[in-house]
Symmetry: C2
Subunit: 784 residues, 2 copies
């Protein structure tokens, strides 16, 4: 039957597609992977007048277009009441978009949290009373749960209990182990397949690309509806699969997709790439806000880490979006505790000056971890890009998932979800804590209030926990390097924090035991008398987490503010800040790039970092094209080229625009004409205007001169001429040029001397020059 054969053939095709990526994709990096299958689902093809894919926008032009639009609306609004109402709606649309983004981002974050909870537990067992309940929900709704053993209830059955009616013993363990791995593989395969087939842009954390997009780059479809949908679904799958990754970074991407979606509903934002980026900045803030439950930290993250052009109006709206998102998430209440924040901690004892030393040590650890992670991860990702490894993305995910699941299951600290682990490590040991980490030997003679438990000697549970934590730490460090960058959604906030929290908790317990057993040492004598509660290991875990996160991302203020919002007290801000500063200094000593900048670099995006300082002594003349010995610049003359000449020039070159000069001899600059607009104008003129033929003269002057009677009709193009192109002189220092490109968001800049055109500098030229000056490969900058 031929139908079946066709179906089978199609299935094989998809399988082949999944397992063997087309070589084209691997060579061109992450960019050309959208495949043919998806064309019909893609975003609509852009209008003429907008930018091409993988090109840089001109911020000044976008801004002036928006001002024009605004002027038009303002002048129209005086005409009729209807127009007045329309102008009011236009003015309010910014707030409406923010509200919608906040609502959707909060809702999606809540849904993701709930789904991850359920699916993570699904790997171990199922709730009989209602299969859609997670372990915790299952036992909370059960009446047969006792307070002491909240985690055990008859409704919740491990797979071994359900399948072979056996909950203990080696065979049950092996069955559970096997099923755990199977579920993990299943989730991971589903996730990577969905990403490969429907939305290749849904992979990774998305933050490097969002930074690039916000700096004024076009990646069509990166923030599309399909990416939103697939990223949300696959994020749940990969987090549940137990891979060493977090959902925080991808949530920023998801929120930005929401932002892009809602901005496409309002012409104010959909038709202006500059205004759209204001919305996206706010959406990024909403994303971090729901990821950590930290609205102020989210706004600062967007300001410090992600955004490029961040006017103060956006600050206020971002804050609004972040708050709406946070409150939407809270009303969904996925953690079941009415808390806004991801890790709620409350410590009862202050910290002491002497503790700054271990805190700074943790900062050093965080910096070293950041350096190690960035170097190894980038090396591995480069290997993936350049060797045959990149051809098997599905296989890679499956292998890493299998390794993760196999190694993670036996160790209780890696088996559970990473956020739960961090939460446990952050917590102080209260009187009711049943965790192994709180297995201290109690002094039976002492009765004290619950909140004020003195330092005690560690029991055997703590020692076991220390070993397990050490093993988990090594495993996490290694596996995270290989996990981040695979073709699945993957954030690294949570793995980084986990590494830091584990190291911090171990250091904390060490210091605590040292202080208990040697409280007569000079360093302890002043602040740690016997029977006092002086060391809080949970605080060390938190400081370590901040240090490691800082080392990897190089966040500063936003990091401290996010952590401050988690603890809610200014008391602990000094340790956090000490660790964050140390971590950044140590990591910066080995290399200035954070992980996101490193990935931007790896992918060759044209990102002009505002934080980098350009301190070399080069001049514009050293950077401009044409270089010495190169062919002269392709220019148009104001009144001596024919239509055919112009068409030939357009055909032979692929520049985005051409400078217009008085004549080839004088080379005095009069303006700049965009390629797109030239093509359109000539096409229109040939179709509609009589007498415009190939040897018509093209005039850019105000009034074309009187022509001899039988010459062809001239083509006047002054209206498409930009009469105020941005120029610098050849003696301008490059640091000024870089500053101008950064602050004004230019795409190109013409170089003149006393009005004579000498050359052109594009953003790509600037970036290549900067790479060259930093002894990097200038060819790594791929896009213009």
């Amino acid at each position: 039957n031929s139908g079946n054969v066709v179906a089978l053939h199609e299935f094989t095709d998809i399988l082949v597609f999944l397992l063997h990526a087309d070589p084209n994709m691997v060579n061109a990096g992450d960019m050309n992977g959208s495949g043919n299958l998806m064309d019909f689902l893609d975003e609509p093809f852009p209008d003429v007048g907008t930018y091409e894919d993988f090109h840089t926008i001109d911020w000044l032009r976008e801004k002036s277009r928006d001002t024009d639009r605004h002027r038009k609306i303002t002048s129209k609004s005086k005409e009729s009441i209807w127009e007045f109402i329309k102008s009011l709606l236009d003015a309010w649309s910014g707030w409406v978009v923010m509200l919608l983004i906040g609502l959707l981002a909060g809702t999606l974050a809540g849904v993701i949290d709930l789904a991850v909870d359920w699916m993570t537990d699904l790997k171990e067992g199922v709730c009989l009373s209602a299969f859609w309940y997670s372990h915790e929900q299952c036992c909370w709704t059960s009446n047969e749960t006792t307070f002491d053993d909240r985690d055990k209830c008859p409704q919740w059955q491990k797979w071994s209990e359900l399948l072979v009616s056996q909950s203990e013993g080696a065979s049950a363990y092996i069955l559970n182990y096997f099923l755990y791995i199977m579920w993990a593989l299943c989730f991971a395969f589903l996730a990577v397949s969905l990403v490969r087939v429907f939305a290749p842009y849904a992979c990774g954390s998305g933050i490097p690309e969002i930074k690039t997009i916000l700096s004024g780059f076009i990646i069509r479809g990166y923030l599309g509806k399909w990416t939103l949908l697939i990223k949300t679904v696959t994020l749940v799958l990969v987090v549940s699969s137990g891979l060493s990754l977090g959902k925080e970074g991808p949530l920023v991407h998801v929120a930005c997709c929401c932002g892009n979606f809602f901005s496409s509903l309002f012409s104010k934002y959909s038709k202006n790439e500059g205004k759209r980026r204001e919305v996206l900045s706010a959406a990024a803030a909403a994303g971090v806000s729901v990821a950590f439950g930290a609205p102020i930290g989210g706004v600062l993250f967007s300001l410090e880490e992600v955004s490029y052009y961040f006017p103060l109006k956006t600050l206020w709206r971002s804050f609004f979006a972040a708050l709406v998102a946070a409150f939407t998430l809270r009303s969904i209440n996925p953690f079941g505790n009415s808390r806004l924040v991801l890790f709620y901690v409350e410590y009862h004892t202050p910290w002491y000056m002497a503790e700054l030393f271990p805190f700074i040590l943790l900062g050093v650890f965080g910096g070293l971890w950041g350096t190690l992670f960035i170097r190894c991860n980038i090396a591995w990702c480069r290997r993936r890009k350049t060797t045959r490894l990149g051809k098997y993305p599905v296989l890679e995910v499956i292998v890493i998932t299998a390794i993760t699941a196999i190694i993670a299951y036996p160790n209780p600290y890696t088996r559970r979800s990473t956020s739960e682990l961090i939460s446990e490590l952050f917590n102080d040991c209260g009187a009711l804590e049943s965790s192994q980490l709180c297995d201290y030997i109690n002094d039976p003679n002492m009765t004290r209030p619950v909140d004020d438990i003195p330092d005690r000697p560690a029991g055997p549970g703590v020692y076991t926990a220390m070993w397990q934590l050490a093993l988990a730490l090594v495993f996490k460090i290694v596996i995270t390097i290989f996990t981040f960058g695979m073709k699945i959604p993957s954030g690294l906030f949570i793995p980084s924090m986990a590494v830091g929290a584990m190291a911090g908790r171990m250091v904390g317990i060490g210091v605590e035991q040292l202080a208990y057993h040697h409280h007569d040492w000079i360093i302890f004598r002043n602040w740690c008398r016997p029977g006092a509660d002086c060391v809080t290991p949970g605080l060390y875990a938190m400081v370590g987490a901040a240090a490691c996160l800082g080392g990897v991302t190089r966040m500063t203020v936003s990091l401290v503010v996010i952590m401050f919002e988690l603890t809610g007290g200014l008391e602990y801000i000094v340790p956090l800040m000490a660790a964050a500063v140390t971590s950044k200094w140590v990591a910066d000593a080995f290399g200035k790039e954070g992980i996101y900048e490193a990935h931007i670099h790896l992918n060759g995006y044209p990102f002009l970092d505002v934080k980098d300082e350009f301190t070399h002594r080069t001049l514009a003349t050293d950077v401009m094209r044409p270089r010495r010995g190169e062919a002269p610049l392709s220019v148009l003359t104001q009144d001596s080229m024919t239509v055919e000449d112009v068409e030939t020039l357009i055909k032979e070159t692929d520049y985005n625009g051409f400078p217009v000069v008085v004549s080839k001899d004088s080379e005095r600059l009069i303006g700049f004409a965009q390629r797109r607009e030239l093509i359109l104008a000539i096409k229109n003129a040939r179709q509609r205007q009589d007498g415009v033929v190939s040897n018509s003269i093209v005039y850019f002057t105000e009034d074309p001169p009187e022509l001899p009677p039988n010459s062809p009709h001239p083509l006047k193009l002054r209206r498409i001429l930009n009469l105020s192109p941005f120029t610098v002189t050849d003696h301008t220092p490059m640091e000024t040029v870089v500053d101008i490109f950064r602050k004004l968001g230019l795409r190109q800049c013409l170089v003149t001397r006393s009005g004579r055109l000498l050359g052109i500098i594009t953003k790509k030229d600037v970036l290549r020059h900067m790479a060259q000056m930093a002894n990097q490969d200038p060819e790594s900058i791929m896009f213009n």
Copy 2:
């Protein structure tokens, strides 16, 4: 005896000087008032190469100078270990400056708080056990104080008790009343005299000037050591005198003075006006941090409200400075409660959706108050500037102080210090509260936990308090308008917050009583059952305070964050935000300017606001000088002017620099020469170079041509020529020009067409054009 006569004469002179300002000063506004007495104490005269007083700096030039310096240090650091250590010290100096600023600002704030406490109480009485104790400290240290009557103790004596041994009765009241007024007058007179004699710049809140300075303007001495000293001392005096003003704004000025002082210790900052402003931005953050105990809010305030150029590196350092300042203040512990924040509040009940309506009403009130205040205050200040009123600043202060004291004393809500009043209004009525505002009628049958007191009917005390609050509100509104802008340090955060808190508390009590008496109304039925604690009047006070502060200053995010740091919970952020948004919208509907911008405008400072949008369609050609019909631009030619010609040009004009063109005929631009550097170069050449005489030709070209044998020696000036002056074409839209001026911090910009020089646009021209377009008087912009 002639010595006595001279002394008497001098005394009279000073008295005359104090009571009658010299007319010169009044006419020229606040600017020329530094007087002759102070010249010897002023800052040292600036070097050549720096900027003149009341001139605008060129940010691009400052930046490139700093890069040069940095390059020099980096290249030197490889030479020897000593140079390497010096380069390290240079790199660290930023953090050291921040640390010092934090320490000094925190200390000063603590000292001011303690001194204000003591001197405010001094108006009413004195502590016999130690006269330097404030009322509270006096009674806390006393053993005879009972818990119920914490305010009464034998050591604390009212003046009437001390002087006539009478504490009650009409005559005691009148004596206390009289002494209260006398003390207030005494403090105010001392303050205004100190300001007039030693540091005229110490008056006002300082924030408008700091905004202008940070945007790149030079006001020498405004942040000097004398200003610091006098402002600190007089701030204590005026706050203690009971005038309707706060110390929060002036504290920002004080912190900026500290910043300026410490930056003068490091050549990195003292010699570069751009870098110095980075330090000042951070100092402003530290100032707000200590004013409210809100470090994050302080940083955001600096970012949103004060700063102009705020690189991310500064964000991180500002945060550090703000934290150090906050913790220094806390270790001084002026409020005696180990709290970091100025008004610590804790509410026990949530707010309900229906309450948003009164909150938004409070927002409307705040917006209206903001508008009213700004309009009336500016009108009054303009009157002061233009009429004879301004000639009697001391008299004005004394009259206002007398009126304030006379009216304030009888009303308990105006007699006490404004911060105490706000603190009481913010507080929830707990079970132990003895305030008149908490005089509710208790149900004797009900025993309830302390924290959860249900809504109760108001007792007579509450009704009295309502009347007194209403009177206090009207008084505060009127007197604040006349107080802000006098020649004494005066902030308006606290008076604005007081106005809002009084209005808010009254609304809150109203809603509470409405809900209690009419709990069957539809709007109350859902959330306010009898016996429930549903309305918190303190929260209304806080919302009102935020609304009024927002209406006056137009702060947004920083306002909400400061308030959030006061309450410490995200719970109440939504009401605060609703009120802040409404208040800003309402106020903006009547005029876009906040109080600081209005004062900047009034004083004619050249401040190019980043928040204003320029949306007109004018072109550079409409703004540039010379206008049509004006004399042509004063230019230098590259090789045809003699030294004498140049000197004449310099003498006849007062421009800051001159464009250099090829020749008067072709007018093709080749560069720009600074006036200062021209003068210096010619002076040097005449002194040192042989053969340079008045008819030597000045050459700006690379190689002067061969000269005839007996012509005078030429003067080569290419090295002082700026070969990369900033140019735009005459067709450039003004919105782009404004954007360029703002973002690059230019001082002037040349206008060309195809390389031919047409004119020049200075920052002043841009500001005048903007004023003209907004239908304001362009002549109000006074400085360049």
